[in-house]
C-alpha cells in the first residue's frame, strides 16, 4: 500500500452541539480502517455556550494532535458563525461543509452585538468550495433534532476514504440502542444532502 498522507479535519461549533461525539465517531471509523489517528479538543469553560473546536487527523503516522491554520483539508462547521470564524484554517482548495443553523452568541443575546445578517453570503464569498446544509431540519426529518451532529457526519462522509459500512458499524456501536435507526437515517440524509444541495 502506498503511503497515506495525513488528512486534517477541523470541526467547529457551539458547546452542547455534539461536536465531541461527532469527533469520537470519526476517530472510531478511521481507527477501524487501520489509520493512525490523533484528535484533540478542549474541555472546561468553553462548554458553557462558547465556541468549540475539535481537531481530527488521520494517516499512516500522525505526529501532532493539532491542525495548523491554513492546513485543514476539510472544515465541518456545526453553526454558521462558527464556520465563518474558522474558514482561514482551510488550506487553499479545502472543503467547507456547514450547518445553516444560527445560534446567538452571548453578546447578541444580551443585545450588545448583532448576528451578521448576511452570514451565508459572507461565507460563500470567502470560500467558493462550500456546501451548506440544514442539518437540524434533516435531523428532525430523521426523528430527532439531537441527531444533527450525525447528519453532519453523513455530509462529510463522501469526502473521506471510509466505506459506508464502517460508518454504520460505528454509529450502531456508539449511539444509545433505541436511537440506532434514527441516527442511521440521519446519517443517510446527511450523505444525500451534500450530493444534492450546493450553494
Amino acid at each position: 500500500m502506498s503511503a497515506r498522507p495525513t488528512t486534517n479535519l477541523l470541526l467547529s461549533g457551539v458547546g452542547g452541539q455534539g461536536v465531541v461525539l461527532a469527533s469520537y465517531v470519526l476517530s472510531q471509523v478511521a481507527m477501524a480502517e487501520g489509520y493512525d489517528v490523533k484528535q484533540s479538543e478542549v474541555h472546561g469553560m468553553s462548554q458553557r455556550g462558547g465556541s468549540v473546536t475539535s481537531h481530527f487527523r488521520f494517516g499512516d503516522k500522525v505526529a501532532a494532535p493539532l491542525i495548523t491554520p491554513g492546513t485543514a483539508d476539510i472544515l465541518l462547521g456545526f453553526e454558521a458563525l462558527e464556520a465563518l470564524r474558522y474558514v482561514h484554517w482551510l488550506r487553499p482548495g479545502g472543503l467547507l461543509i456547514y450547518n445553516a443553523l444560527q445560534i446567538n452568541p452571548s453578546p447578541v443575546a444580551a443585545g450588545l452585538a448583532t448576528y451578521p445578517a448576511d452570514i451565508d453570503a459572507q461565507i460563500a464569498a470567502a470560500w467558493p468550495n462550500v456546501r451548506r446544509i440544514d442539518a437540524n431540519a434533516l435531523a428532525q426529518q430523521a426523528g430527532t433534532i439531537k441527531a444533527a451532529n450525525v447528519v453532519m457526519l453523513g455530509a462529510v462522509s463522501g469526502a473521506l476514504p471510509f466505506p459506508p459500512a464502517a460508518w454504520e458499524e460505528v454509529i450502531r456501536r456508539v449511539v444509545p440502542p433505541k436511537t440506532i435507526d434514527v441516527n442511521l437515517a440521519a446519517f443517510r440524509l446527511g450523505v444525500a444532502a451534500v450530493a444534492t444541495e450546493v450553494v
Binding site: V37, G49, I103, V108, A110, G111, T114
Partner: protein, 608 residues
C-alpha cells in the same frame, strides 16, 4: 487491545494496570477525567477529596501503608498540595506514589500557566512527561516502578494537549496484588522532626544523583537520529509539534525531564551540528543543559515563553533562525476572513441559578470579591458584577482583608461582598470564613450552593450526598457549619426569586456584623432541570431590552414586520427559570401555559 483514549484515560488505564489501589484528586481542568475514568475500574478506591492538599495526604498515607497510590490535580492544585508534596519528597514512599500535575499552557481554563516541572526541581523529585496517550499509559507504569525503586514520589506532568488529545493505546493486564495487612513502623523515616529530617536531606541529594544515572539509560529517554544538521531536545507535546514541523530532523526525546541525563545529552550534542531546545512555557530543560556546560544554539530566545505552542508556531519560529528541513505547508499565517467577527465567549446556561444573583448584585452596585467556578462568568457583560477573582477560596479571605482596612461603610452598598460556590467553599473557603467569624469583619459572604462541582462537569463534593464511587454520603450542612463557626446572621434564599434575593441582600448589607447568605438551587445542566418555557406577548413587549440584562441565550432581539424592536423566547433553549420575566416592567413575559412547549418533568425546583 487497541483503544482510542485521551491522555487522561490512558493514565487511568496505565495506573490500573500498575496495580494502583487508591487514587485521590480534586477536580480541575485539564486533569478531571483521570479519576472519572479510573473510578470505572474494579479494585481501586477512588475519591474526590475536598482539596488537593487533602488528596496528596490521602495518597501519601496509602503509599506508606504499602499501596500504589495516584494523586491527580491541575497545575494550580499543586500550589495547594505543595506542603505535603515537599514532605513526601523527604520521606520517600513504601508503595509507589505518583502525582499527576496537568498543566495548562495557553490558559484554556486556568488563571495562570505556571510550569510545574519547576516543582520537581524544587522538591527534589523526578518528573516524567508523556507526549501522547500511548506514552501516558506506558510512562505511568514506569513512574510507579521508578517511585518504588528509588524511594521517591514521582511528578507526572501532562499538559492540556496531552491530557485531552486522543490517540491509539495498546492496553494490558493488571498486576496481581497481595493483601496489605497493617502498618509497618519506621518512625525515623516518616516522622519529619528536625533530628530525622536532617538525616533525610543528604539521602535525598544522593537520590537525585542516582536518578540522574538512571536517566542515562532509562526507556523514558530516547534518541531518534535523522538529518544531523539539526538536533532538537523536546519533551511532552512540544516533541509532537517539532516532529511535525521538522519531519527529518534528529531528536533527543526526553520522557524524564528532571533530573537530566548529562552524558546522553552530551552524546547527542556531539552528533548534531546545531542543538535547539523546544519546550512549552519555561526554559526548564534549556537552563539545565546550559548549566552542564553543553552548548545550546537556541531555545527560549526563539520559542515563545508565553502561551501554548503548535506545529505552525514552532515551524515559523525555527525557520526564522535558519533551521533547515521545515515542513513548508506550516509556514503560512492566514488571517481571519472577517475582522472583528462577534465573539462567542462562554456564558451561564439558560436556567442557571447564578443569573438572578448577579442581576441583583449588578443592580446594587456592590464590590464583589469572586472565586473560581462558573459564577466567575458574572464578571462578564451584561453583568460586570465581579471585580476580583484569583485562586480557590480567596473570595472570602480577600474580602476580609479589604474590610479590615476600609472605613466602616457609610452606605451599606459599600460593604464588600464575597461570592463563592459550594465546592470551592469546601475546598478552601471554610478556613477563610472561620477567619471572618473569628476576627470579625463586616463582610457579606454569598455562598452559591448549586449542589455540584459545576465548572469541571458536575463532580460530587462533600455537600452532594454522594461519593465519586456513587455511594451515599453525609452532606455538609452549610448553614449549620456557618452558625457553628459563631456567625449569627446566616440566611438562605431562593436565587430564582429576585425580590427576595434583593431584599435579603439589602438587609445583610446593612448589618453591622458579618453575614452569610446561602443561595441554594441545583445546577440545571448537571441535573437536567427544565420546566416549561416562558413566552413573550409581542403586543405588550416594548423592546426596552431590560430582560436582556439577564444575559440569557434563550432571549432573542428582533425587528417585527412593522419595524418595531421586540424580544422573543426561543422555547428550545428556555429552561423556564423566570428571571427575565421578573426583570420585565411591562409584564410582557408570561409563565408557561399548561401543555406548552419545552415541557419536561419539573423535578428540579420542586424537589428541593
Amino acid at each position: 487491545m487497541s483503544e482510542m483514549l485521551s491522555g487522561n484515560e490512558a493514565i487511568a488505564r496505565g495506573a490500573w494496570e500498575s496495580g494502583v489501589r487508591l487514587a485521590a484528586a480534586y477536580p480541575g481542568t485539564p486533569s478531571t477525567e483521570i479519576l472519572e475514568s479510573l473510578a470505572k475500574y474494579e479494585g481501586v478506591y477512588c475519591e474526590w477529596s475536598p482539596n488537593e492538599k487533602v488528596a496528596m495526604e490521602v495518597g501519601t498515607g496509602a503509599s506508606w501503608a504499602g499501596a500504589r497510590a495516584l494523586v491527580c490535580m491541575k497545575h494550580v492544585g499543586l500550589n495547594v498540595a505543595a506542603d505535603p508534596f515537599f514532605s513526601a519528597g523527604y520521606t520517600g514512599v513504601e508503595g509507589g506514589l505518583v502525582i499527576v500535575s496537568a498543566d495548562d499552557p495557553g490558559m484554556h481554563s486556568s488563571q495562570d500557566e505556571q510550569d510545574n516541572r519547576n516543582y520537581a526541581k524544587f522538591a527534589k523529585v523526578p518528573v516524567v512527561e508523556p507526549s501522547d496517550s500511548g506514552e501516558a499509559r506506558e510512562f505511568i507504569k514506569l513512574a510507579f516502578d521508578l517511585s518504588e525503586d528509588y524511594d521517591t514520589p514521582v511528578l507526572f506532568r501532562t499538559t492540556t494537549r496531552t491530557s485531552h488529545s486522543k490517540s491509539i493505546v495498546e492496553s494490558g493486564e493488571r498486576l496481581t496484588l497481595e493483601p496489605l495487612k497493617k502498618m509497618k513502623k519506621n518512625w525515623t523515616k516518616y516522622t519529619m522532626m528536625p533530628a530525622n529530617a536532617i538525616v533525610r536531606h543528604p539521602i535525598i541529594e544522593q537520590r537525585l544523583a542516582t536518578l540522574a544515572e538512571y536517566a542515562e539509560t532509562s526507556p523514558l529517554n530516547r534518541m531518534e537520529m535523522g538529518d544531523k544538521r539539526v538536533g532538537f531536545v523536546c519533551a511532552g507535546a512540544s516533541y509532537a509539534y517539532t516532529r511535525e514541523a521538522f519531519p527529518e530532523a534528529s531528536f533527543l526525546k526526553l520522557g524524564m525531564t528532571y533530573p537530566l541525563p548529562k552524558k546522553l545529552i552530551a552524546d547527542f550534542r556531539a552528533q548534531v551540528e546545531k542543538l535547539y531546545v523546544v519546550e512549552e512555557l519555561d526554559p526548564f530543560i534549556e537552563e539545565l543543559i546550559r548549566l552542564q556546560g553543553i552548548k545550546v544554539d537556541g531555545g527560549k530566545g526563539i520559542i515563545p515563553i508565553c502561551g501554548e505552542l503548535d506545529p505552525g508556531l514552532v515551524a515559523r519560529c525555527l525557520v526564522v533562525a535558519g533551521i533547515p528541513g521545515v515542513e513548508e505547508s506550516l509556514l503560512a499565517v492566514p488571517s481571519p476572513v472577517v475582522e472583528d467577527l462577534v465573539g462567542r465567549p462562554p456564558t451561564m446556561c439558560p436556567g442557571c441559578s447564578h443569573r438572578g444573583v448577579f442581576s441583583v448584585l449588578k443592580k446594587l452596585r456592590v464590590f464583589v470579591s469572586g472565586d473560581i467556578g462558573c459564577y466567575a462568568l458574572g464578571a462578564l457583560p451584561p453583568f460586570g458584577a465581579m471585580h476580583c477573582s484569583t485562586c480557590m477560596g480567596a473570595s472570602i479571605s480577600m474580602a476580609h482583608g479589604m474590610a479590615k482596612v476600609l472605613d466602616p461603610p457609610a452606605d451599606p452598598r459599600d460593604k464588600v461582598v464575597a461570592v463563592i460556590g459550594d465546592s470551592t467553599f469546601f475546598h478552601t473557603g471554610i478556613n477563610s470564613l472561620m477567619d471572618v467569624a473569628y476576627n470579625k469583619s463586616r463582610i457579606l459572604a454569598l455562598i452559591l450552593d448549586n449542589r455540584t462541582t459545576a465548572m469541571t462537569g458536575g463532580q460530587e463534593n462533600p455537600g452532594t450526598g454522594k461519593t465519586l464511587l456513587r455511594e451515599p454520603a453525609t452532606e455538609v450542612n452549610i448553614p449549620g457549619l456557618c452558625r457553628d463557626m459563631g456567625l449569627k446572621r446566616v440566611v438562605e434564599i431562593d436565587p430564582y426569586d429576585l425580590k427576595q434575593t434583593e431584599r435579603v441582600l439589602r438587609e445583610e448589607l446593612a448589618a453591622e456584623e458579618p453575614s452569610v447568605v446561602i443561595a441554594k438551587a441545583p445546577c440545571v445542566l448537571q441535573f437536567r432541570i427544565r420546566v416549561p418555557a416562558y413566552r413573550i406577548d409581542a403586543d405588550v413587549c416594548t423592546g426596552c431590552k431590560r430582560c436582556l440584562q439577564a444575559g440569557c441565550m434563550a432571549l432573542n432581539l428582533y425587528v417585527d414586520e412593522h419595524g418595531d424592536r421586540k424580544v422573543e423566547i426561543q422555547a428550545d433553549q428556555c429552561a423556564g427559570c423566570g428571571v427575565c420575566s421578573q426583570l420585565c416592567k411591562e409584564e410582557a413575559i408570561l409563565p408557561p401555559t399548561p401543555g406548552g412547549v419545552g415541557l419536561r418533568t419539573p423535578k428540579g425546583r420542586e424537589a428541593q
